[in-house]
Subunit: 362 residues, 2 copies
């Protein structure tokens, strides 16, 4: 819908057929000239190039893709609803800058799929692939344990990369951090310091990173000959502001002397408030290991140690490999797995309270 001033003198879209008629040649020849292919005489080529230039011809990208079986864009899609996906503003921006660095030299279109998630996380995050708009796709964030769509993405043959693994599809193209080892290291550290009742604050209920945490936690306890007490494990969601109350609740049990803060909210202030409300004092009656995406940074000054999850680093390598896959320099699928690093906290700066992916959603 346009008003008269724009409607009446709409520029006619030139097609390859128009150019051919103008130049007195066939469409085939025009196509060859435009795509810089051989088999056209120099003066014919020049004449056609001039017309293309003059009328500002640009081929219809849909028709071109239809015929040549090449899709138009590099896709970016988020497989999880926002309340489970901890995609921070800074991460998103960082990712965009990375995509820019890698793909702008190729003149790519970077296409974000804004297909809206319902409360049940039901929207198809992969439609850009199956509608054949995406020539490749980055899936930002974790997959649900019962995700089925990813199997089809995998079989589609287009280059893709998930920032996260999936048990149900071990050959999945991914760049991730090993959360099993992360939970294992965190638990083992606290066991060695004499704790036997170790609570865990975790996120990603129903998603792969959640199950990985449980697995590593269980493995360390098993090695120490201790049972897993499910009442020690508590979940938080990213949307709900309940870190404080969950921490308060879980520490009512005075037998609990240690806490693994693996919610990845990086929300030190809320944890601190929960500790205060529970009447706990870190270093005296509680020891904490907290998880962070930032190297050499603590979530909480009072923590005993922190675990660094090199998600950015894994993603960076993954994007590079994805580009290699797209441009035929290397085969897929991608298998990048970075190991987390546990480090005792000693004067590192605290992370500022992170902000959600889209402020406006709250």
């Amino acid at each position: 819908m346009t008003d008269d001033s724009t409607n009446q003198e709409n520029a006619r879209k030139w097609t390859i057929y128009d150019i051919a008629r103008e130049a007195g040649v066939s469409t085939n020849t025009v196509s060859k000239v435009f795509n810089r292919k051989s088999g056209v005489g120099p003066e014919t080529r020049k004449r056609i190039e001039e017309i293309i230039q003059r009328v500002g011809f640009a081929p219809h990208i849909g028709a071109r893709g239809l015929r040549a079986k090449q899709n138009a864009c590099i896709g970016v899609s988020v497989p999880a609803p926002f309340d489970v996906a901890p995609v921070s503003q800074s991460f998103l921006l960082w990712m965009f800058a990375l995509l820019y660095r890698v793909f702008s030299v190729h003149g790519e279109y970077i296409c974000f799929d804004l297909s809206p998630f319902t409360a049940r996380g039901e929207v198809d995050y992969a439609r850009g692939i199956f509608e054949q708009l995406f020539k490749a796709c980055v899936l930002v964030g974790p997959l649900a344990l019962d995700d089925k769509r990813i199997h089809q993405v995998h079989k589609s043959g287009i280059p893709y990369m998930v920032l996260g693994r999936l048990d149900a599809l071990p050959e999945c193209s991914s760049a991730a951090v090993d959360y099993v080892t992360g939970a294992y290291l965190s638990t083992q550290y606290l066991l060695r310091r004499g704790h036997t009742r170790i609570a865990m604050l975790k996120a990603f209920q129903g998603y792969q990173p959640g199950i990985e945490r449980l697995r590593g936690y269980g493995r360390a306890l098993e090695e120490a000959g201790l049972p897993v007490d499910k009442s020690l494990i508590h979940n938080v969601k990213f949307g709900a502001k309940n870190v404080t109350s969950v921490v308060e609740d879980m520490l009512q049990d005075r037998s609990v002397t240690a806490l693994i803060e693996s919610s990845a909210t990086e929300d030190g202030a809320s944890v601190r408030e929960g500790l205060r409300r529970a009447g706990r004092q870190p270093g005296r009656d509680i020891e904490i290991v907290s998880w962070t995406y930032k190297e050499n940074a603590s979530v909480l000054r009072e923590e005993a140690a922190h675990l660094w999850l090199p998600v950015r680093e894994a993603a960076e390598e993954g994007i590079g490999r994805l580009a290699d896959w797209i441009y035929g320099r290397q085969n897929g699928p991608i298998q990048v797995l970075y190991q987390p690093v546990l480090r005792e906290t000693a004067g590192e700066e605290e992370i500022e309270k992170p902000r959600r992916l889209f402020e406006t959603l709250e």
Copy 2:
């Protein structure tokens, strides 16, 4: 290029023809079912819907667009090279959040054109329109004074919006701030305070916002019966870190007693350093009006006044109007023009040093 494991069992892409054969009907019928059109018997419809569901059919977006003349994405493109376009990280992120808010309910694809600019700013920022990938387009940032492409964009008839005006195309669809008035108000303010030798630090050489600054500046001087001394006007680029040295240079002339800092770099620290090197002391031998995109914030504590450019506010209204245009609730083109506001500085917080659009480019 894929390795064997993915190659061998690539899922066959189902076409509307495959579905038709499977259901024992014609493609026409399948098309009607998929697009929820009438003229199909209920049991036929149901049978086809089940097949579509089972095989996960998704239509080829290119073929669909080709036939139905509907393009796939909302495009975002930056018409100016990065050294002249002051698109900050935070602005980009803010813009993305806004696009999310407006377009996610419609399930749109948001497509950024990463076509790389040469040093001469030569790449076509509008290719997504003419390749018929974009159904609408947001052009982020100013246009060059001699821009020709925008005329074709305008005539193409697709909804578009530029964050900036253009003299050469007054009917251009735009959401902008009136820099002429901004420069006029700034100059008039300093004239009233008794200054006659007013220097101007500006950006956007060769771009519309640059010429608007000169026009407003000249108009105020003319009204005061003063001549324009071109030696008082200095340009900076965003890429080069030369704010400091330009400020130092321009204030060597001791007859200059006032400065309009309209570079829009919001780089208070560099200005301060330039003042120091020139041996100037704000409030004693120099008075400054600085321009900012943030309301109620100063670029420099020592400035006499600041001019707020409500670019975000204009853009927000513009995006809303663009959506109205796209979805037929309103006609285009868009004409949004916000007025800047001059305010004497009194204890506002200073803006932190902003960061460039893409850190990695420097």
